[in-house]
């Protein structure tokens, strides 16, 4: 038990459902084990904490080999929305919440949320664009500072 992980800092860098969920599930799971958690959102992973985007994250049906179907089908209008809806339904049954509820749940569990300064500057975002759970916009240096003494996971 001496080797128990005490703290993790998880970077969520990819957009889309399959991009943001693994990090969120790992963060929540860590809190459930009593592990301290920091979440750092960068690039398109940031959609998960942007107010007007977090509720509309979809699964990519084009150029996603994991979908096991020809990309040509994925271009059909509404296909991505339908695939997302089906997936969310299955996830709900497994008690995996939609992104906004998941973010709230992890924050209530004591997880800390940070947004990447470089991405914020690049996409010309402001603190107000983020959900209230986001503590602050930090640079890479600050990220390493808050991650000190723990594990870092990149997703």
């Amino acid at each position: 038990m001496e080797n128990k992980i005490k703290k993790v800092s998880i970077i969520i860098s990819k957009g889309g459902l399959d991009g943001v969920y693994p990090g969120l599930i790992m963060a929540n799971g860590a809190r459930m084990e009593g592990i301290e958690v920091n979440l750092f959102f960068t690039f398109f992973g940031m959609d998960a904490v942007i107010k007007k985007r977090m509720g509309k994250i979809k699964i990519a049906t084009v150029g996603n080999p994991g979908m096991h179907m020809p990309s040509l089908l994925g271009i059909i209008p509404g296909f991505s929305a339908m695939a997302t809806k089906m997936m969310m339904k299955t996830m709900d049954k497994l008690d995996i919440p939609p992104v906004p509820e998941f973010v709230e749940m992890i924050a209530d569990a004591g997880g800390k949320f940070y947004a990447c300064k470089a991405t914020v500057d690049m996409f010309k975002l402001k603190k107000e664009d983020f959900c209230p759970q986001v503590d602050s916009i930090i640079n890479v240096g600050k990220f390493y500072e808050i991650s000190a003494g723990g594990e870092i996971i990149f997703t």
């Binding site: 809190r31 459930m32 009593g34 008690d95 919440p97 749940m105 209530d108 569990a109």
Partner: protein, 106 residues
């Protein structure tokens, strides 16, 4: 199957991590002893409300309810749950309530 004695109660069957193997062997005294062992301390009415709800759910559908279900049930908010059972709410509450270790990832 290893056995364990909690307080003055008769020894009960437990798994390798100390979760009760047989829910029917659970008593309030055992719950209080596990709570102390897990660092939860004295069980207050707020703890009991959670434990009783979890046991009701467990008896009805054989599953340990998730943190999300507890939150949605209105019995306890996620924040309160983490305050009541520090260091691993679902796992510790399940253990105290005499149930198996939760298997889900969420």
């Amino acid at each position: 199957m290893p056995q364990k004695q909690f307080g003055t109660a008769a020894a009960v069957d437990v798994d390798a991590e100390g979760f009760l193997a047989d829910f029917s062997q659970w008593t309030r005294e055992i719950a209080a002893a596990i709570a102390k062992e897990e660092g939860v301390g004295e069980l207050t009415p707020a703890h009991w409300k959670v434990i009783e709800f979890m046991q009701k759910e467990f008896k009805e559908n054989g599953q340990v309810p998730s943190v999300r279900k507890l939150n949605k049930s209105g019995v306890v908010s996620t924040k309160e749950l983490y305050d009541l059972f520090p260091g691993g709410p679902a796992k510790k509450a399940a253990k105290i309530a005499g149930m198996k270790k939760p298997e889900g990832c969420v």
